[in-house]
């Protein structure tokens, strides 16, 4: 099912040309510009693969290419991340059953044939942090190459229909989807070379150069050379343990936003949300805007963790929030049909007799994010586990440079926070990298100082205290 009317987004203007794809031989209508798994979801197909050992059905989970829950066989090639691979007319798609070998007639591409690109700075990730970094570096004369594995620029901004907080000069009062458009346009106008559908797979030192190895559109090998790398790879959604948490229809909150707000696809009819942090309460509101019923939000903590005002928006539209409750299990055959929740006691144990069952077809997990640090790890940056920043993060200094000279970090990959702070960190990283490669003038130090002050001001409230405590654990002082 596709969304026809939406109070914020006009999908009729967004959809591309109609094409036909073949799922297990059956023709399915899709639109150019949408990924395979999303098109299948619109056609009612939830099971994308079966696991190798237990033959359990699997569906989407993250929908941004990070979790491997959507691997399918596309035109005979297994292990394709169908959530970020765009449909093409006539494409043949099959469910992947366990481990499937590469067909014998397929010749793998070779690194010696890789396409080479040269510049000053390579930015990995085209979300708010990466775009802000690329814009600032390019503005100061650096040749910037930005790579992102998604088909659209903007990172998670492209699915945020709500208006942002902060100050107006930081885009407060502007919807995330609009911020993505503004930043993407600015990056292009400033001459940033953009490579979409391109996955960075490693950062290497080659003489006095950094080299980022990447794969474009699953097949085309590329090497990007520059003097500095900015890693702005964002985050991925966490999972929590409960019975049948792998049932298709147990989706990360972001996947539901991708389906409904990026591609205009109805995620389901009735949804239970787990987690009343900002992501959970914002998701509930977005579902209501898409005319999808939200039966409840459950939250294990005694209080709502997200901003009160986001919670108030959905409470006055009748969505209950059950604090001190948890999900016990998902039920259903090959797809979510029911969710069972229960109240928990002081020791976080479910209280017998408090179970409630909801008929739902989607269980949305909004139980937090963790920084995507794989590339930083591979590149040799020192990682530390910091609870306040939601996982392993790299140590960095006030200019966002990591323990490896020339590798910078910004946004959620440096610790889970907000798009507003991601943009500020991105600006700092972009300017600092431009200084390092000898393009920016020392006068930009004042601009860097302004963004550092803005960050401090943003973080000066109760929500920022937690973050500041975390940052203190990773900060490298001069």
């Amino acid at each position: 099912m596709r969304l026809q009317e939406h109070p914020i987004i006009d999908f009729t203007k967004r959809r591309g040309r109609k094409v036909t794809i073949y799922f297990e031989g059956k023709p399915i209508e899709a639109y150019e510009g949408e990924p395979i798994a999303e098109a299948l979801h619109a056609a009612g197909i939830r099971v994308l693969s079966y696991t190798p050992k237990l033959n359990r059905p699997r569906g989407l989970f993250c929908a941004i290419g990070k979790c491997s829950s959507c691997l399918m066989v596309v035109n005979g090639i297994p292990n394709v991340r169908t959530c970020i691979t765009l449909v093409e007319d006539g494409m043949r798609i099959e469910r992947q059953r366990g481990l499937q070998p590469l067909p014998k007639n397929v010749k793998s591409p070779r690194w010696k044939d890789a396409e080479k690109k040269y510049g000053d700075i390579i930015v990995i990730g085209g979300g708010p942090a990466g775009l802000a970094a690329a814009i600032k570096a390019a503005e100061n004369g650096a040749k910037v190459m930005l790579i992102d594995e998604n088909p659209i620029l903007g990172g998670q901004l492209v699915k945020q229909t709500h208006k942002f907080f902060g100050k107006r000069e930081q885009f407060a009062g502007v919807r995330g989807i609009k911020i993505a458009e503004i930043l993407a346009k600015e990056a292009k106008d400033k001459g940033v070379e953009i490579h979409l559908e391109t996955s960075a797979i490693g950062i290497f030192q080659e003489g006095d150069q950094k080299m980022v190895a990447a794969v474009k559109k699953n097949t085309h090998l590329m090497e990007f050379y520059g003097k500095a790398v900015i890693v702005a790879t964002g985050a991925m959604e966490k999972m929590i343990p409960f019975k049948n948490n792998d049932l298709p229809g147990v989706y990360g909150a972001g996947a539901i936003q991708t389906l409904m707000n990026t591609y205009g696809i109805e995620p389901g009819k009735r949804v239970l949300i787990v987690g009343a942090g900002n992501v959970g309460v914002i998701l509930a509101y977005q579902l209501l805007q898409a005319n999808v019923e939200v039966v409840a939000i459950v939250e294990a903590m005694p209080r709502i963790g997200g901003y009160f005002v986001h919670a108030a928006k959905i409470r006055r539209l009748g969505v209950p929030i059950y604090t001190r409750h948890t999900i016990l299990r998902a039920e259903g055959k090959e797809k979510v049909e029911r969710a069972v929740i229960a109240q928990i006691d002081e020791k976080w144990k479910p209280i017998p007799g408090t179970e409630k069952t909801f008929d739902v077809d989607i269980i949305a997990l909004a139980v937090g994010l963790r920084p995507s640090v794989e590339l930083l790890h591979q590149a040799g940056c020192q990682l530390v586990y910091v609870r306040e920043l939601s996982g392993y993060v790299t140590r960095h200094d006030k200019r966002m440079e990591t323990t490896v000279r020339g590798i910078f970090v910004a946004g959620d990959s440096s610790g889970i926070e907000e798009a507003t702070t991601a943009m500020l960190e991105g600006k700092i990283a972009g300017l600092s990298a431009a200084l390092l490669v000898g393009k920016a003038k020392p006068a930009v130090l004042e601009e860097i100082k302004k963004y550092q002050d803005d960050l401090n001001e943003f973080r000066s409230g109760p929500f920022g205290q937690h973050i500041l405590k975390g940052i203190e654990k990773v900060m490298i002082h001069d």
Binding site: E5, H6, P7, I8, H162, K163, F164, F165, G166, K167, R168, A172, G173, V174, R175, K178, A276, V281, L288, Q289, N291, P302, R303, I304, Y307, F308, V309, H310, A311, A312, K313, I314, R315, R316, L317, G318, V319, I321, T323, T420, E457, F458, R459, S460, G461, P462, F463, G464
Partner: protein, 166 residues
């Protein structure tokens, strides 16, 4: 104060009164007046920045907004821009009150249409009549704003509407 509203997700009118001083009866009988329902310290300033009469006090971006009701001219810009959809306007007129609120759902009601009133926990509490609509393209904050005439006793209860069409 124990922040009970963070357990429930809504404020009671009594809690609101404890957090901010509400406009006087006399002021409420004058021009519409902006009332923020924004009790938690979060980094957010558009209401203060957009106010044409400098009626919103907020020394630090993390402070809660406090409206000087004498300076407020009832222009609704704060209602339009507020990212948290937490600003409302209230005005008393005879035995009715007019409540101005953001409305980002479909369908958008029509002027003169009767709508169902919802309180802060989503309960249906009565009916109101739509007096004025600022559609999205006319709103500085990209959010449609609706003014609804409600029974006076619901002035501090009605905070959302449900549009019912056959």
């Amino acid at each position: 104060m124990t922040e009970k509203y963070l357990e429930r997700g809504y404020l009671t009118p009594e809690e609101l009164k404890e957090i901010i001083e509400l406009p006087s009866e006399e002021r409420l009988r004058g021009k519409p007046v902006a009332v923020p329902e924004c009790p938690q310290r979060i980094p957010c300033t558009p209401c203060k920045e957009i106010c044409p009469t400098d009626a919103i006090k907020m020394d630090n971006p993390n402070d809660i907004p406090v409206v000087d009701y004498d300076k407020c001219i009832g222009c609704s810009l704060c209602v339009q821009i507020c990212p948290g959809l937490a600003f409302f306007m209230v005005q008393y007129r005879g035995d009715k009150a007019r409540v101005t609120m953001p409305h980002e759902l479909l369908p958008l009601p029509k002027r003169g249409e009767e709508v169902i009133l919802l309180n802060r926990k989503g309960e249906e509490i009565g009916k109101g009549k739509v007096i004025l609509i600022i559609p999205r393209d006319k709103s500085v904050g990209d959010t449609p704003v609706v003014t609804v005439e409600v029974p006076l006793e619901l002035a501090w209860e009605a905070r959302a509407i449900k549009v019912v069409r056959e």
